[in-house]
């Protein structure tokens, strides 16, 4: 990270699919070293936004800067700075955890020796027999850990996690958020999308997105105080209602 400014800057970002506008000119920053929660119901525009940041989806209008670099002009360098974990984990079901890691390390151009840290980290978290099973046969919680290990392989400073906790049990969710904190402690910047509103409490700041528009942004406690709400769900409903009236 250059450290000069925000890790991610999004300005007037829009995405249209035909006549349907999935993301409507949103703007936000993610400061270096913070965990930002990207909250919203299914279909709100979270995945579309994250895919535009990674360069996986063409931007209709607007701009994305990653560590100061415009991703439309410096996509290869931007990709080098980003780790991306997709909603479906997207691992190869017939490969074991170790084989998946070796494959993704290979395509990232990492030498086998450079795998030590990630494999060791995974070994500490996952029982050895499970690591030898095909990904298809392991529980979603383990798949999630392997997908995170894959995402961290090239050592990216900025990590985009798209719905990483969907479909896993509460225990695995809690354990996963401990992982996210550990990454923050290690100096990483994280943008985590989720439709589980109660996960907002884990984040330094949250962005609430609804129908392709950001309807609230700030630290969870601050937002609750400002809007005089007791919980995130109430806050979310209030923000949507306010935005609808605008």
């Amino acid at each position: 990270m250059s450290g000069a400014g925000p890790a991610i800057v999004v300005r007037g970002l829009s995405k249209s699919f035909g006549r349907f506008q999935a993301v409507k000119g949103i703007s936000f920053d993610v400061a270096a070293g913070e965990i930002v929660g990207f909250l919203g119901p299914n279909g709100a525009g979270k995945t579309t936004t994250i895919k535009m940041i990674t360069g996986l989806l063409k931007i209709t209008s607007g701009q994305v800067l990653v560590d100061g670099l415009d991703n439309a002009e410096h996509l290869a360098e931007v990709k080098g700075k980003l780790g991306y974990m997709s909603q479906k984990f997207s691992l190869y079901p017939l490969l074991t955890a170790q084989e998946n890691i070796e494959f993704f390390a290979g395509i990232s151009g990492l030498a086998p020796g450079a795998l030590g840290a990630q494999v060791e980290r995974l070994r500490q978290q996952v029982p050895a027999p499970l690591l030898r099973l095909k990904i298809h046969d392991v529980p979603p919680g383990i798949r999630q850990k392997v997908a995170l290990a894959v995402c961290l392989l090239p050592g990216p400073p900025i990590i985009l996690l798209d719905e990483p906790t969907s479909g896993v049990d509460p225990e695995a969710r809690r354990s996963f958020w401990s992982e996210i904190y550990a990454l923050k402690t290690a100096g990483k910047t994280l943008l985590v999308s989720t439709h589980n509103l109660d996960e907002a409490e884990y984040c330094d700041r949250i962005l609430i997105i609804h129908n392709g528009e950001i309807v609230a942004a700030g630290a969870p406690d601050e937002l609750l105080r400002q809007r005089r709400k007791a919980g995130i769900e109430e806050l979310f409903m209030d923000a949507i209602r306010d935005h609808g009236q605008d």
């Binding site: 895919k51 990674t54 360069g55 996986l56 989806l57 063409k58 996509l75 290869a76 990709k79 080098g80 980003l82 991306y84 997709s86 909603q87 479906k88 997207s90 691992l91 190869y92 079901p93 993704f104 395509i107 990232s108 151009g109 894959v150």
Partner: protein, 377 residues
């Protein structure tokens, strides 16, 4: 009744709102009836024949003229350096599939006609395609009968004057399996090769793992080459298994060099794998990819490659299309190597076309894959 009505209404909505399936339902039969209508024919539009005129008499020249005057026969009487064709040269042409038959007019034809009242014309037919061989024999016999009636008119002698002494090369027992099974190997190999890559890439799209490949430093060409190499080995192994099965179960001979077949099979498989990648770039899921692969490999390979119907029987438009089908070339190669013991030098054109098609398909697949990747970005 109301419950059935609900199902009927739902099915109609599904049919109407799935434009791909709807297109397939209406377009496929139209394409099939068009292609089948023009290709289901055993009539030959052209029979290439080498005529070796050893007699060089007035009568033999008249006979050569009779063949040359027929609109179906294309007669070749000269070999290298404009010399009269030798039998060895003509046999080589038969092996290269440049001609379908050799007509040999013996030196003593006039003498025999004068002394015995009849003479034999030698006929050597390429028997590798049993149906075509039958047609070629019938066409040749018909011209000879007409020629005989001309002679009868002139001389008034009784009985046929000229008869055919026929030899069938490459498949003397006229076993149709000898013709069909090497062809089947070619068709199956193309289908399997294309299926391997088309399903592999559409599976990645379905599971979302293609996004991780796109976001990695991998270039599109690296993804495609990396995906192709293992499938080349799988398809080669597959080809070897079906060829062994054809050899030992159906008793198909292997008269040529296996290494020659392997070289051409490699090119053919690369063309098939590239076709599969090209298909996968337009297929949203594995189901569509499989259907599109089956249609685009099986249909043209069965109907337009010479597998069942001779290319000479196709309309000019379909003949032109047949040049773009990899199976057209590999069919000639596999039948030539397996049944005729043909060698590498006999298939320089077919090999060149397979290389051209492989390069073209691979370039088109890479370009489309790359454009798709960039369009997303």
């Amino acid at each position: 009744m109301g419950r059935i009505k609900a199902i009927v209404a739902k099915e109609f909505l599904h049919i109407l709102r799935d434009p791909r399936s709807l297109t397939m339902v209406f377009i496929t039969p139209l394409v099939m009836i068009f292609v089948l209508g023009y290709s289901v024919s055993y009539d030959l539009n052209r029979v290439d024949a080498a005529v070796i005129d050893l007699a060089q008499s007035r009568l033999s020249r008249q006979l050569v003229k009779a063949f040359a005057a027929n609109r179906v026969f294309v007669v070749r009487t000269q070999g290298a350096s404009n010399r009269t064709l030798s039998l060895a040269e003509a046999e080589e042409m038969l092996r290269r599939q440049e001609i379908r038959e050799i007509i040999v007019i013996p030196a003593d034809l006039s003498q025999r006609l004068a002394t015995a009242g009849q003479g034999e014309i030698g006929l050597v037919i390429d028997g590798s395609d049993t149906n075509v061989a039958n047609l070629v024999y019938q066409y040749t016999e018909r011209i000879l009968l007409e020629f005989n009636s001309g002679l009868l008119g002139a001389g008034g002698a009784a009985g046929p004057l000229l008869t055919l002494d026929t030899k069938i090369y490459f498949n003397p027992e006229a076993r149709s399996q000898f013709f069909f099974i090497p062809g089947l190997v070619a068709v199956i190999l193309l289908m399997i090769s294309a299926m391997l890559t088309s399903l592999s890439i559409s599976r990645e799209r379905e599971t979302g793992s293609i996004a991780l490949l796109f976001i990695s430093p991998l270039r599109s060409v690296e993804i495609i080459v990396g995906k192709t190499i293992p499938f080349i080995l799988v398809a080669l192994l597959d080809g070897a298994v079906i060829l062994l099965f054809a050899r030992f179960w159906f008793g198909i001979p292997l008269r040529g060099n296996l290494a020659v077949l392997l070289v051409f099979a490699l090119l053919y498989i690369i063309a098939g794998l590239s076709l599969g990648i090209l298909i996968s770039t337009s297929a949203p899921n594995q189901k569509v990819a499989m259907l599109a692969t089956l249609l685009s490999t099986m249909l043209p390979s069965f109907l337009l490659s010479g597998f069942i119907f001779p290319l000479d029987s196709l309309s000019p438009v379909l003949q032109a299309i047949s040049y773009a089908i990899p199976a057209t070339y590999f069919l000639r190669i596999i039948r030539g190597v397996v049944l005729k013991g043909a060698e590498l030098r006999h298939f320089l054109f077919e090999g060149g076309m397979l290389i051209a098609l492989s390069v073209l398909l691979l370039a088109a697949a890479t370009r489309k894959f790359n454009r798709q990747r960039k369009a997303a970005q």
